[in-house]
């Protein structure tokens, strides 16, 4: 990607993926070269490797507060963990044909559920309010013995909004229903203590917490009924066949240790930078607002809706200045809908197409945040000047009337 600007690039898209920590990369390298053994092998090449995998598993266990290290099943990533959890529950309880999830899940869950719906399952998608919050009364009423599994994300990837998964897991347990949470965005950013919770399954992904891509894990509470997605060799105690991704597992172990060490920093310094970014942009740009549950969200995530401009155009102009962020809107042929998360929250179309997500990490600096605060207002002003919905200093009085194509 071209970086026409001479200033160093600023990466604010850490909910998409993070830079793999140099310590993790260094720890992984020997496992591509001299430590190539298969941990399952009965010789010394495999033995040292098996030992390291065990240490990495223990580091990850500690990060999520699991009671046993055998509750961790390594997968190729968050998507595989999500698919494994839901499909396992359906297979384990063939008489239960319903699934409870939410309107704002990641596609790894939603698109799987859409497919299952075609196969005859009933999918209940919990609605959210304008701040992206669930209605637990709606949830309680759906907890019947027809439900095979509840799958609710810990934190939303677009807005950072937390769902009360620990409370929802207890409610599911009382109703004797398996509870799964996609915690891909939360693990490494907030304290998680699974041993004390009623959560049966949890998905996480290495590359969201400064670990490598291609590795993730499914936490599986001891005693939970489980059916593997992949069968074959006996790896992961027969719960996920396939030779272990040893470099990935080792890298994720280091990333988990680093995430624990930086947990306090994430929730103080990173949070302060995020708050500064939010205040700085909103003070300088009219007709813009932050979306989600602002007092109850990930410390690193900021989602701002800029009215009367389109997200991709904003991203291109940001990128020209070396600033990387992301947009929920995907302007592609036929995809007239902006992000499903924004639509579920009822964000009006005038704003939903112009939502930008800034997601920080412990690697961002205050100078970077200052540069972004300075860069954003002129970009929005420039695009609004092109917009038929904008007139001088504000939106045209009635956008619907001001722009009314004859055929509409």
């Amino acid at each position: 990607m071209s970086m026409p600007n001479s200033q160093p690039p600023i990466y604010l898209d850490n909910n998409a993926t993070t830079r793999c920590a140099p310590e993790a990369v260094a720890a992984m390298l020997p496992y591509f070269t001299e430590q190539f053994g298969n941990p399952s092998s009965m010789h010394s090449f495999g033995a040292t490797v098996g030992h390291e995998v065990k240490a990495a598993r223990a580091a990850l266990q500690k990060l999520i507060g699991a009671e046993y290290d055998s509750e961790i099943v390594y997968t190729a990533g968050g998507t595989e963990a999500d698919n494994t959890a839901i499909l396992s529950a359906l297979k384990a309880s063939p008489d239960r044909k319903e699934i409870i999830t939410t309107m704002v899940e990641h596609h790894a869950v939603l698109h799987l559920c859409d497919q299952l719906e075609k196969d005859g399952y009933v999918i209940h998608k919990l609605k959210v309010d304008g701040k992206g919050r669930l209605d637990l009364d709606e949830y309680r009423k759906l907890l019947t013995d027809k439900v095979a599994i509840v799958s609710v994300m810990w934190a939303n990837n677009e807005t950072g909004t937390f769902f009360p998964v620990e409370e929802m897991a207890r409610m599911a347990r009382d109703a004797n229903i398996l509870f799964h949470t996609d915690a891909v965005q939360a693990v490494g950013k907030v304290d998680i203590n699974l041993a004390e919770s009623a959560i049966d399954m949890l998905s996480l992904s290495g590359h969201k917490l400064h670990g490598p891509k291609g590795i993730g894990a499914l936490y599986l509470r001891r005693g939970s009924r489980f059916r593997p997605l992949l069968r074959g060799g006996g790896q992961e105690r027969g719960r996920r066949a396939g030779t272990e991704n040893v470099p990935g597992i080792v890298g994720l172990g280091v990333a988990a240790r680093l995430a624990r060490e930086h947990m306090a920093y994430e929730n103080t310094q990173v949070r302060a930078l995020r708050d500064k970014l939010q205040a700085g942009i909103l003070a300088a740009v009219p007709c813009a607002f932050a979306t989600g549950d602002l007092d109850n969200r990930l410390p690193n995530t900021l989602n701002i809706a800029f009215e009367y401009v389109e997200g991709e155009a904003i991203l291109m102009l940001l990128n020209k200045q070396g600033i990387a962020a992301s947009s929920g809107s995907a302007c592609t042929s036929g995809s007239l809908e902006p992000s499903h998360v924004m639509r579920a929250m009822g964000i009006p179309y005038t704003a939903a197409h112009g939502t930008i997500r800034f997601s920080l990490s412990r690697e961002n600096t205050e100078e970077e945040i200052d540069r972004v605060i300075a860069a954003v207002p002129p970009i929005i002003a420039q695009l609004r000047k092109l917009s038929p919905y904008w007139n001088g200093d504000g939106p045209v009085t009635d956008p619907d009337k001001a722009f009314a194509p004859t055929y509409a």
């Binding site: 592609t332 036929g334 092109l386 004859t406």
Partner: protein, 295 residues
Amino acid sequence: MWDYSDTVKEHFYNPRNAGPLPEANAIGEVGSISCGDALRLMLKVDPASEKITEASFQTFGCGSAIASSSALTEMIKGKTLDEALAVSNQDIADFLGGLPPEKMHCSVMGREALQSAVANYRGEEWKDDHEEGALICKCFAVDSVMIEETIRANNLCSVEQVTNYTKAGGGCSSCHEGIEEILAKVMAERGETFSPAPPPEKTRPGKLSTLERIRRIEQVIERARPNLQRDHGDIELIDVEGKTIYVAMKGACSGCQMEALTLGGVQQQMIEALGELVKVVPVRVKPPQPLVNPS
């Protein structure tokens, strides 16, 4: 990130002719804020010569929507209205050094705004007949509406046929699942069940007699007519010369945007009926109108 050409980026970063044009006497508007893109095209037309002396745009939309608008104004300035109308969406995309398949609709929007502006100048009412669905085939930029309508119009029942009629699925083949889903839906409407098995009876007759050959050609034409007549059009067999079959498109079919599609469908049925490769060629009185590329 989209793989935009340098020209697209240049027109996005430095759009030409942006902003209101108070002295405009032809204004075209397409899209809406809910769709995620909207374009207002403003032209100043010299009434004597019908030449576009100035063109300007205001666009709400993504990078390629803004670039397409900018390119369009550059392309039509100095042209007469009739010359400008000959600009197709493919011309706009070509001017920009190509657009990703997902973004071809931006160029379509440009052309529609132009048609709308000319209609506005001439006091006509312009109707948008372009419905767009989710993009199914990324290799050839074919959307679900196009596939669905083609399946319905031609009673298709296999992915292979859909590929022959629309090109969808003819590239990397990753979209075959999506095509099968549309087939299953449309076939269910007409009371059939989609089966992934290839269509039956691929009879390979020996060499047909001339008489049998002409009979089969006529049968295909007869089969195609009711569908076309329903849309106030028709097709007539004019002549057969070797492997070329000449037909005349009549009524609403003549110059219709779907003409190429219809002919492609007829040709495919001819090939199947005759068991040999033939070409169906339209015979015209008037030169063809430029086709809008389906996107």
